[in-house]
Symmetry: C2
């Protein structure tokens, strides 16, 4: 089992387990934790927790559970969080600004190292303690400051070009907030967060349940004739 690659679905859950473990460790609640408890905290089922953790190796003890500190360390290491990955935000509009001062990033060990834009209105100003620089300085900054993650928070029309500039500068990990499809070479990892798509998905399920309710209602009325 050990040396099989970790499935994507598992990778996506490791940060959740990490958060739960940090909660436990912070409270000094217990030295070990069972898959059952961890599952409850992570909102998944216990078998899934065990299978996920087994991809990292056999770090549990039967009849006892998992050592919290040890597991914390292993997940941290596996996620590559023992080193820091400086990130740059491109696009300092509403969203970019909020991301720049979002405390959740620094709490999880991510450091926003630079901000870029193309508008003279914001270049030179400070946001969250960092100066906003011109996009043309991107490559230099990436090299000099070892930036390894690019966060795109531009309008959709600019997203593809910004992504290409990031890739050209040597960035291999991109998080895209712009509502646009962005293509990158296969050796680059890109993930997208699209806020209005999330709302549209919610809309679908809401609409569906309302449609079902309406149909039931119509049936009821027909039945009573």
């Amino acid at each position: 089992m050990r040396h099989r690659p970790i499935p994507e679905a598992t990778v996506a859950r490791l940060p959740i387990y990490l958060r739960a473990l940090l909660d436990i460790a912070g409270d000094r609640r217990d030295v070990t934790v069972s898959s059952e408890d961890l599952a409850r905290m992570a909102g998944v089922n216990a078998a899934k927790v065990r299978k996920d953790l087994s991809y990292l190796g056999s770090y549990g003890t039967r009849g006892v559970g998992y050592d919290v500190e040890y597991l914390l360390y292993q997940i941290t290491r596996e996620l590559g969080l023992t080193q820091d990955w400086p990130a740059a935000i491109i696009g300092v509009g509403n969203l970019g600004r909020a991301l720049a001062s979002y405390k959740g990033f620094s709490e999880r060990g991510f450091r926003i190292a630079a901000l870029f834009d193309v508008s003279d209105d914001v270049i030179g100003s400070e946001v969250g303690g960092l100066p906003v620089r011109h996009l043309d300085d991107l490559k230099e900054a990436v090299v000099d400051e070892g930036i390894s993650i690019g966060i795109i928070a531009t309008p959709p029309a600019a997203a593809q070009e910004v992504a290409e500039r990031l890739v050209d500068a040597g960035v291999r990990s991109i998080l895209n907030f712009a509502p646009a499809v962005v293509n990158v070479p296969p050796d680059v990892t890109i993930r997208k967060v699209d806020l209005s798509i999330e709302l549209q998905i919610l809309s679908f399920y809401q609409q569906r349940t309302q449609a079902i309710a309406a149909a039931r209602e119509a049936n009821r009325r027909l039945g009573s004739l």
Copy 2:
């Protein structure tokens, strides 16, 4: 085929097709579009586009493609976007503020109708043209103003309680930005957007490729001995 339920994965892609179709319709580029073209614009493969669209019904014409306007209408309808779903944001910190003024929502037809918080520092102030109200007024506002989507942008510790209040007020669709696991009854749809989890996933893949590169390097050196 028609009356089978639409798979989750398909639902998640419909908004992407919608965006692509809006682009085409806006440019008045063409009356019809092929699955091939649509696939290119959506960043997926053509067979997937066809299968996805076939769940909505047989709206294409063989040898021709899909009528852009008609398909637009059908997807809009299926996603429930013909009616509007007023949303409330709970938590007017950094993120909540940005979401309140995020133009992407209104562009896609979602209206932020109310803002809530518990801190006296912000209650009464205006954000994005809306007054911030006390969380205790939530239920009343939901009923009076027909709010159907709740957006949680609070610190993680408050997320579960806020979710329960939303559910109690009658909200059945929740979008959670707080980095916390939130449990809701089965008739409530909840989706989460966790920004630092996204970065942690990127970190994993970046770390992995670097680890592979390092291993290769080590091998090379050993081999040259």
